[in-house]
Subunit: 138 residues, 2 copies
Amino acid sequence: MRRSRQRDAILSVVKSTDCHPTADWVYHEARRRIPGLSLGTVYRNLKVLCELGWVRCYEGPGGVSRFDGAVATHHHFRCDRCGEMQDVDAPVDASLDRQVADRTGLDVRYHVLEFRGLCEGCRLERRRSSGSEVEDQH
Amino acid sequence: MRRSRQRDAILSVVKSTDCHPTADWVYHEARRRIPGLSLGTVYRNLKVLCELGWVRCYEGPGGVSRFDGAVATHHHFRCDRCGEMQDVDAPVDASLDRQVADRTGLDVRYHVLEFRGLCEGCRLERRRSSGSEVEDQH
DNA sequence: AGACATACTAATAACGGTTACCATTATTGA
DNA sequence: TCAATAATGGTAACCGTTATTAGTATGTCT
C-alpha cells in the first residue's frame, strides 16, 4: 500500500476529533488542508482505514456512517433525532460474547451497545418548537 | 387513522415471521395477498406501525432497515456479511439506561445491544470460497 | 537521476434503499 | 347514501455511498 497526502489528512482528521464525524464532515474538514480533495477519495480511504483497523465505522439511521478514531472497544449514546454520537463510559463486558456464543452456537465476534435518547440540543429544540408533538416510542 | 386492507396485510406479514424482514421482503410477501400493492405503501405503513409501536425497526449496514413484530425489548445477533438478524436470549438489563443517565446526565430512553459475527450460512460460504481471504477486524 | 509499474486521485455517473408527490380510490361518520 | 378526507399506486426525486475511468503521484529498480 502506498502513501498519499490525502489518506494522511483523512486519518488525521478522524483521529483529531471525538465527535464521531460523518464522511461528509471529514470531507469538508480535510478539504481545508487539501482543497482539491474529492468526496470519493474520502469514502475510499475511510473504508481502507476501517479494514486496516485504524478507525472504526458505526452505521446508523438513514444509512449514514459515523467514524471514530478511538479504536478500543467502547460504547456510545446516539441521539434519535439528529443522529449524533458521543462516548459513554459504560463498562465493556467482553465475556458477553462468549456467553452468547456458548448458548447459541453462533460465531459471535463482538457486540455493539448503543444507548439512545435525545441529546441536550435536541431536547431543548423539541421543547421549544412544540410541547404537543408525537412522542417517540420505546 | 383509517384502516386499510394493505396495512392489515403488512402488519400481519411482519407479525407472522421472526426472520426480521426488510421492507422489500415484506413487500413481496404481502403482494401474494394483495397483488397490486405498491412498495411505497409498504414503506409508508411500516413507518406508521413503528410510530404506533406495533412493530420495531432496526437500521443496519447499507441503510437497510429490518422490522420485527416482537416489540418487547430483546437483543439480536447480526451477520456482518449478509446482514441477517436473529433473536438471542441475552439478559435484558433495563437498569443500564438509568446507570448511564445518572453518570452522564443524558436523556437515555433505551439501548440497543447487537451481537455481531458470521451466521452459519456465511461461515460455510466463506470457508468454501476462499480460505485465504481478508480477515475481518474486531 | 531517469524510467517503469502501478497504487492512488478527481470528477462524474451509477446504484439502491427510502421518501415525496399527486391524481385516484376507499374508508368512515353523519 | 353521501360528502370529507385518509390511504393508495405509480412514478420521480432524494441522498449517502460505490463504481468507473482517464490521468497523476509514489515507490522501486537500475
